[in-house]
């Protein structure tokens, strides 16, 4: 990660801008939305190992005086899934990328809740992102 940040420093013009956009260290929430009403089913339990490593890399290049943070914003985004198959695919990728060492119980909860609904129900995953802006020094 530090090497990637040094590469960004190298290819950026003087006073160039670096944007780091990634999930915040806040657990994602899974639920079902129907007719505009949200029903939460489970809060995930990510370890945030990668996010903490990224924070350390940022701190490292800040100490080297390569970049200086100028802005930080946090906001929530949602992803909407129409079918259990979509959710299964998201969940498999989520487990792989967040390196969860246990199978969350969310699948059973979503399957049960979703099966009992008709019409425009959607499975929704909500979670905040952090947007950090840095200036090349």
């Amino acid at each position: 990660m530090v090497h990637a940040l040094r590469e960004c420093y190298r290819v950026l013009k003087p006073n160039g801008t670096l944007i780091d956009l990634r999930p915040a260290q806040i657990h994602r929430r899974v639920g079902v939305v129907q007719n505009g009403r949200w029903r939460e089913l489970e809060t995930m339990s990510e370890t945030f190992e990668d996010e903490r490593a990224a924070d350390r890399a940022i701190a490292h290049v800040a100490r080297e005086k390569l970049f200086r943070r100028t802005q930080r914003a946090q906001f929530e985004i949602k992803r909407y899934m129409d079918t259990l198959q979509d959710f299964r695919q998201w969940l498999d990728e989520f487990i792989e990328f967040t390196r969860l060492n246990h199978r969350p119980t969310v699948w059973e909860k979503v399957e049960r809740e979703f099966a009992g609904r008709k019409g425009d129900a959607q499975i929704v995953v909500r979670g905040p992102l952090v947007l950090s802006v840095f200036r090349k020094m």
Binding site: K13, P14, T17, Q89
Partner: protein, 98 residues
């Protein structure tokens, strides 16, 4: 399969609020299938967007809207060894990739 990520477009609104993309030479690392790239590229001078996963880069190329074809270059490269000379870009975007 129907998967909609951020249909409310919060992500792109926050990006545009934080940084000026207009006429900038942009490097994006971690472009994936181009979902975010397609939302900001129109206002830039040019975007060089990379991902380490070749299948996603192919998908991004296939899905590039016609009006953005001359503006975005998608490639496969490591963030630790970028194929560019020094001081080339105005803006570097690490999109879910650090």
């Amino acid at each position: 399969m129907t998967l909609l990520i951020d249909p409310e477009e919060r992500e792109i609104r926050e990006l545009f609020r934080a940084v000026a993309f207009k006429n900038r030479e942009v490097l994006e690392i971690g472009c994936g299938d181009g979902r975010l790239t397609f939302r900001y590229a129109a206002v830039t001078r040019r975007v060089h967007a990379f991902d380490q996963f070749d299948d996603l880069v192919k998908l991004a190329r296939q899905n590039t809207p016609t009006d953005l074809r001359g503006k975005i270059h998608f490639g496969n490269a490591s963030a630790e060894q970028l194929p560019y000379p020094a001081e080339r870009f105005d803006l570097a975007l690490l999109a879910w990739s650090l």
